[in-house]
């Protein structure tokens, strides 16, 4: 506690500004790194539990990821739509062409189905039937591993 008046000026005040600048740079860096996107794992979809589901192997070719919410809507590439909608039909057809070219044919493309545990079985089956109509045959029903 200084009682006397300071005549001298402190020339060496450590400047906090660059320190805070760097700290904010770090925060911005980690914010960009943290992935909040729900493209492949929407948090609306709570998977059912299984004890023997096989973890997917690593593959350099991407499969078709489809997700189904509790109320029966399908999520494809981040967009939510109805299974019976024209939009889903045309996008599924485009995916069958695109992935079919990568995997050889649509029948070789694995379709990963991430269905909510409380979704209706009939809705899931309608989704599978829709995929079959676009020549998909290989399905992977995804579950949380207990």
């Amino acid at each position: 506690m200084r009682l006397h008046k300071e005549k001298k000026s402190e020339e060496f005040e450590p400047d906090m500004t660059p320190m805070i600048d760097i700290v904010f740079q770090l925060i911005a860096f980690f914010m960009v790194l943290v992935n909040f996107t729900k493209i492949d794992a929407d948090n609306r979809v709570d998977l059912p539990v299984s004890s023997i589901a096989k973890p997917p192997g690593k593959s350099d070719k991407q499969p078709l990821m489809l997700q189904m919410t509790e109320d029966g809507q399908v999520i494809l590439a981040g967009d939510t739509m109805a299974v019976e909608s024209q939009e889903f039909d045309s996008r599924l057809f485009r995916e069958s062409r695109r992935l079919g070219a990568i995997w050889g044919e649509a029948a070789n493309v694995p379709v990963v189905v991430r269905g909510h545990m409380n979704a209706k079985t009939g809705d899931i089956q309608e989704l599978i039937t829709k995929c079959q109509s676009k020549s998909f045959q290989l399905f992977r029903l995804r579950a949380k591993i207990k």
Binding site: L26, L47, I52, K120, T121, G122, I128, Q132, A143
Partner: protein, 164 residues
């Protein structure tokens, strides 16, 4: 450039308060964004759209039909395997024991028979019941085994049209 004579001691005071503030901000941020990701696994099922052509198998697989009915809220009301009801507190455990009874050595070259199961559910049945059923009939992990040690029971699984 200011040239001043410094004949006093320079005290460099580092103010820790903003440093600590920022560090706590960072800490809170990373705690809030911490996300525990559960491991996910797949059940691989081949489901061709059109019925398969008559494949040249030596022995036709024995067909089983699993029928699951739903209550009003989608929960499992009843389960029957080839018209034999799976009673008890845990019908999925009863189903699993039944299948293990049919295939004591698992499937594969040493197995006694080849089975194919068709799952027929009510439309409104909750999807988790289907996964539990597949979990029960597909295989099991023997006690004391590794993570990869799974004995396969039935891997030919089909779905019948849902019952509305």
């Amino acid at each position: 450039m200011k040239v001043r004579s410094r004949d006093k001691n320079d005290k460099i005071e580092l103010q820790m308060t903003p440093m600590i503030d920022i560090v706590f901000q960072l800490l809170v941020f990373f705690i809030m964004t911490f996300n525990v990701v559960k491991k996910e696994g797949d059940f691989n099922i081949l489901m061709p759209g059109k019925p398969a052509d008559a494949t040249l198998t030596e022995v036709a697989p024995t067909k089983l039909q699993l029928r699951m009915t739903a209550a009003g809220d989608g929960s499992l009301a009843s389960m029957t395997l080839n018209d034999v009801s799976m009673a008890g507190g845990d019908p999925f455990q009863a189903l699993h024991q039944d299948i293990r009874g049919k295939l004591p050595n698992g499937s594969g070259p040493a197995s006694d028979a080849d089975y194919e199961i068709e799952i027929k559910c009510d439309y409104g049945l909750k999807y988790e019941n289907v996964i539990k059923a597949i979990n029960a009939v597909n295989g099991y992990r023997p006690p004391g085994g590794d993570e990869e040690d799974i004995v396969t029971l039935i891997d030919k699984i089909r779905f019948a049209a849902p019952v509305k």
